[in-house]
Symmetry: C2
Subunit: 337 residues, 2 copies
DNA sequence: GACAGAAATGACAGCGCTGTCAATTCGCGA
DNA sequence: TCGCGAATTGACAGCGCTGTCATTTCTGTC
């Protein structure tokens, strides 16, 4: 029926345990034996049973991708990250379970416990804002589950992947300055997201570098959603002196700004320059196409998963790797008339 | 350490096998016994080990969601479907593996075999165009794996979920007719997708019902992507008599049409009415907001998964359930001047 | 009240693999 | 050549559950 480890052992003339050792890449196997076993596995088309490995050993070859399910602000982002994670899993013969978590209530405890106890998941990959949700981190720590974070706020203690968002935001706003803009507004994202902080910090950095004053009136609170971008823009349009450029902390809000500009009869980029952050597909689907910062979500998912697996395979402590950003200068920004 | 089935048995005073029977909802257990066992499970917080169940029995409590990974046209759609599937899995204590498949090459065979042999998945949920990919269906059949389809082309032989897209498209185009439009163009989706056929058929139905002639010049081939929408619209704008309304087979292409309209200096909806299909988040983020048909993707994912589980639990042959559509009339369509 | 047949329950082996620990073989200096 | 620690390998039990088949306990009938 099924080719078992024992069959491979018999074919090779060694004990099942030795085959098991080869399978698990344990070091104490003579190279010649290893080759023989590998050859037999290959020719017999042997495929280990995850269920049996899970039952007998402690390993399950399962990782979980945890993400916030409360609102659905950027499902494109999640989809891309997930694709990247799956890529990495594929390469290392891991499987991934997608696990949406509701942050309010105790749901996440139940879910995490289920993952750990029922499925013996070996590790976790998280996206913001879960990356910095203390109760969750706490629970993972209690269970001793390694985790890899994508764009976590606390960079010191984390493994995973991040981008220098502050530097990217600064570069983006500097572009606006170079185009002659002096009244540059910023729409902030959800308060406790790292992304909000860094992008805001970059905005301030750029103002400072350009010798422009920081005016709190030009900073409006948003919450990463299209609708909040509309509202924030309306607020800015009510100011006595309109900004000539608006930097929204993500593309969705930037789209909202452009929507509100249309509503108000302002022509982008003639009357107003707009830029966002993330370079979601939306960015090139707006008219005019949106100037933004490309964040390689898929790549980041993959790298985060790879870092996790390094840890799981005991190949090192795991790193927080940094990926480069790219400015995407498009038609939604222009020189001040 | 861990509460095992044996522990529950001891606490209840029955044999492990009986507890197992309760766990698997087998019928030959006296009701009073069943209650006792269930109570014990509850109070001891017993959680069966999927690995052990998978090893011993034939069941794995795993289903796979298969989707096409070639291009990434509508990741929002996939993300919503996946959320729905996860919902259903949660309710029935199943786990889901996300499994992107490349249709070209033999990749899908390797992947499917891996799912079946390695993970013993019990069933599969598929999205278009996989739902009608003969080699895949063939392979699933060979393995005897039940599958549930979302919007499959061949409705007779399938279980899963669908929507009356033809009727929906017809209703949408009828709306345009009622607004006074006579020259209504259509941008078709990728050729072999059921969605393309049905939406086209609904378009024709509406023309016929309104007594309007079908003019092939007003039908342009697209491929569901934003870019293809732009190209198709440019083609239409090159016609001697411009259409007064364009029905694109999905929202992304409709967004492309609006983009091209901007490019061409046409004002939507004053000079041109535009409508799409799917009601993705994009629809409300465009200016003006897009008239479209709401397709409840998340609900559809959930229902497809539920149908699959009905089959897996032997509760019936499985149905192809139909979900209702909703017209979303927004500002991208207006009365002909 | 005895008995056939159905309903409910239990004993036991084993799913395919790995952990533990013991046994064997190897390499090398004395 | 002998002896010893290190490098390899193997024997065996058991992970937590379910399939098979035997056994016990109910039913209802005459």
């Amino acid at each position: 029926m099924r080719v078992r480890l024992e069959d491979v052992a018999r074919a090779t003339g060694v004990s099942p345990k030795t085959v098991s050792r080869v399978l698990n890449e344990e070091s104490s196997v003579k190279e010649s034996t290893r080759q023989k076993v590998l050859a037999a596995m290959e020719s017999m088309n042997y495929r280990p049973s995850p269920a049996a490995r899970g039952l007998a050993g402690s390993r399950s070859f399962l990782v979980a991708m945890l993400y916030d399910n409360n609102d659905n602000p950027a499902s494109t982002y999640l989809a891309e990250v997930q694709d990247g994670v799956l890529d990495a899993c594929d390469a290392h013969r891991y499987s991934m379970m997608a696990c949406p978590l509701r942050m309010r209530g105790q749901d996440f405890i139940r879910r995490v416990d289920a993952l750990v106890f029922d499925h013996h998941i070996e590790g976790v990959i998280m996206t913001p804002p879960l990356t910095d949700y203390a109760p969750l981190l706490q629970r993972l720590k209690e269970h001793g589950v390694p985790h890899s974070s994508i764009s976590p706020v606390h960079r010191e203690a984390s493994i995973g992947v991040c981008m220098d968002e502050q530097q990217a935001a600064k570069a983006l706003v500097m572009q606006l300055v170079e185009l002659g803009h002096r009244r540059i507004a910023h729409i902030v994202g959800i308060a406790n997201h790292g992304a909000s902080r860094w992008r805001m910090a970059g905005y301030k950095d750029a103002l400072a570098a350009a010798g422009l004053p920081f005016d709190p009136h030009y900073v409006v609170q948003g919450e990463f959603s299209f609708g909040s971008g509309v509202l924030a823009a309306r607020e800015l349009f009510a100011l006595p002196e309109l900004p000539t450029a608006i930097f929204a902390a993500n593309d969705d809000m930037a789209a909202g700004v452009m929507w509100a500009a249309n509503e108000r009869g302002l022509k982008v980029p003639r009357d107003l320059s707009v830029c966002g952050f993330d370079d979601t597909p939306l960015a090139t689907q707006l008219w005019p196409p949106l100037t933004t910062v490309r964040q390689p979500s898929r790549e980041m998912g993959k790298l985060a998963a790879l870092q996790l697996m390094e840890v799981l395979r005991g190949r090192g402590p795991g790193l927080l790797v940094q990926v480069p950003y790219t400015l995407q200068l498009r038609e939604s920004t222009a020189r001040v008339p």
